[in-house]
């Protein structure tokens, strides 16, 4: 029997609760607003369960130590915000290439540069996708509420362990800092732990992936001695420049995510069944959008909301499901327009796609989206 405790928590606090429920035992990071509550709470909680917390000398080291902690067998995470997320990109790429499970929380604030450290934004969704150099897949999740942050964090750890890959959580500053009612369960089912190799150390090949395309990396110190490198490598883990092996690795890294899209991608469809206008939004803005579509429905406009909970890989299937049905699409984002281009690319030839944006540090109000819905409806 799962007991639930009603609490009032910040998004950042719910992230910590989710991480603990998922089995986090290692955190390395560097202080940056608006993510600091995550580090502060884990410095308090981790030693209580025998876990490890370390504040590193910089953001880069925070990411590096997180990967190190994971290779030593821990469920590991770090948390940061815009400028720190930029600094972490190279080692994020290392984790993708070396296939090291870990979770990176980016509590998004206004940018570019130092920007608006205490104000909300969704300006890092493309950085999450393409921030590190080279072709690569990425998983990025975007919670829209405090309870959703709890479950999204659990999901992030599960996906990281399942697919042996880093997972990014894009948390809006508004969600990270606001307090909201949440029923915290004392136990969560379906936690995924790291697999151990089935083969003996003599026969073990670290990057020989199973049918799911994900490797099983043995914990350092478990008797499996192998080599981990950011250089392009073959299934033994050692560097290769053989074009065949290079292509094989690049394809496998990509397929590993691509073939499991249905497992990874989550999106909520609100009032879309008969919708003539579809609003696409994620994170905090999807709350404003939910409010706006309710008001629009009251005014007799058939409008629905596609709330993206997984940003990458992109919810192509969900989007295309409504592409022929709707007369127009509005993509509401707390930035100058990023996901709108992805939507346009996928369904722009089937329905006109409009961008609705706000990027002054204040959360987009429902009225802004409602007005746009009305305007689009009039002209449709």
């Amino acid at each position: 029997m799962i007991e639930k405790k009603t609490r009032l928590l910040q998004g950042n606090e719910a992230c910590v609760e989710g991480a603990l429920a998922a089995g986090v035992t290692f955190f390395a990071g560097y202080p940056i607003t608006p993510s600091t509550e995550i580090a502060e709470l884990l410095s308090l909680y981790l030693p209580r369960i025998g876990g490890k917390f370390i504040q590193m000398e910089d953001e880069i080291a925070g990411m590096a130590a997180t990967i190190g902690g994971s290779l030593a067998g821990h469920k590991a995470m770090t948390a940061t915000s815009g400028p720190g997320f930029s600094l972490k990109q190279e080692n994020l790429g290392f984790a993708i290439m070396a296939e090291v499970p870990c979770v990176i929380v980016n509590v998004m604030r206004g940018g570019p540069s130092t920007g608006l450290p205490t104000a909300t934004a969704q300006g890092d969704v493309m950085q999450a996708r393409w921030g590190t150099h080279g072709d690569h897949p990425i998983i990025a999740l975007a919670p829209y509420s405090v309870p959703d942050t709890f479950y999204t964090t659990i999901k992030a750890f599960n996906l990281a362990e399942k697919y042996s890959t880093p997972v990014v959580i894009l948390l809006d500053e508004v969600i990270g800092h606001m307090r909201e009612k949440i029923e915290v369960p004392d136990h969560v089912d379906g936690i995924i732990d790291r697999k151990s190799p089935e083969k003996s150390p003599e026969d073990y090949l670290p990057y020989e992936a199973g049918p799911d395309q994900a490797p099983v990396l043995a914990k350092f110190g478990s008797g499996y001695r192998y080599h981990v490198t950011g250089l392009t490598h073959d299934f033994t883990g050692f560097p290769t420049t053989d074009p065949k092996q290079v292509k094989y690795l690049m394809d496998r890294l990509n397929n590993k995510i691509e073939m499991h899209k249905d497992d990874i991608i989550e999106a909520e469809e609100l009032e879309l069944d008969d919708a003539e206008i579809m609003v696409v939004a994620y994170g905090s803005v999807s709350r404003s959008a939910a409010n706006a579509i309710r008001s629009a429905r009251e005014a007799g406009i058939k409008v629905g909301l596609l709330r993206l909970k997984t940003i990458w890989p992109f919810a192509e299937k969900h989007l295309k499901k409504y592409a022929d049905q709707v007369k127009a699409v509005i993509v509401a984002e707390q930035n100058q327009g990023q996901i709108v281009y992805e939507v346009e690319r996928l369904i722009g030839c089937q329905a006109p796609v409009y961008a609705e944006n706000r990027y002054d540090g204040e959360l987009m109000k429902p009225e802004q989206i409602l007005n746009r819905i009305k305007e689009v409806y009039r002209n449709a």
Binding site: T6, L8, T33, P117, T118, V174, H177, R179, K181, S288
Partner: protein, 175 residues
């Protein structure tokens, strides 16, 4: 029922804690609640605010757009934050504040700070006095819910002082 509440004062007057207590009292009464606040330099000194929405329904937009209930403990906070009040809202202010004359809503001007300092002997509990007054004036939650939320949050050993503070505030509103 859905009420937007804004608590404002100067940094250090405990508006954040008051907001958290109010939101917790809300969820203890089985309602939904969200709380948010100003961060950064704004939160240190100067005017600062903490906002709460308490609702029977789910709360989509988490920020206060038009307060139904507003508290101002300082002149600066009143000038900065009271401008977008709902016409049928309730404004609770410390008696030291000079009204602009523009307010269309119901105004309760009461001695919050003086009561905390002189009656209870601790200026620091002005936020609790204010909470008592707000609950009485708006009936957004019951006094009992407020009381249990306060007792859950305040430091051990200060329960009696804080209980008295909300009681004092409650009694400052006539009727």
């Amino acid at each position: 029922m859905s009420k937007q509440i804004r608590l404002s004062g100067s940094g250090g007057q405990g508006m954040l804690l008051a907001g958290i207590i109010l939101a917790e009292a809300g969820i203890m009464s089985g309602k939904n609640a969200v709380q948010s606040q100003s961060y950064g330099p704004e939160a240190r000194g100067g005017a600062s605010k903490s906002e709460v929405i308490i609702s029977d329904l789910s709360i989509d937009y988490p920020k206060v757009t038009k307060p139904d209930i507003m508290l101002a403990l300082t002149q600066e906070a009143y000038s900065k934050y009271a401008g977008d009040m709902s016409d049928d809202g309730i404004l609770v202010i410390d008696e030291s504040i000079q009204l602009s004359g523009q307010d269309k809503c119901k105004v309760y001007s009461i001695p919050i700070i003086v009561s905390a300092r002189d009656v209870l002997g601790r200026a620091i509990v002005a936020n609790m006095v204010a909470l008592g007054a707000i609950v009485k004036a708006s009936e957004v939650i019951s006094f009992e819910s407020l009381e249990s939320a306060v007792l859950k949050r305040v430091p051990r050993g200060t329960e009696e002082l804080n209980r008295k503070a909300i009681q004092t505030g409650y009694e400052l509103i006539a009727g």
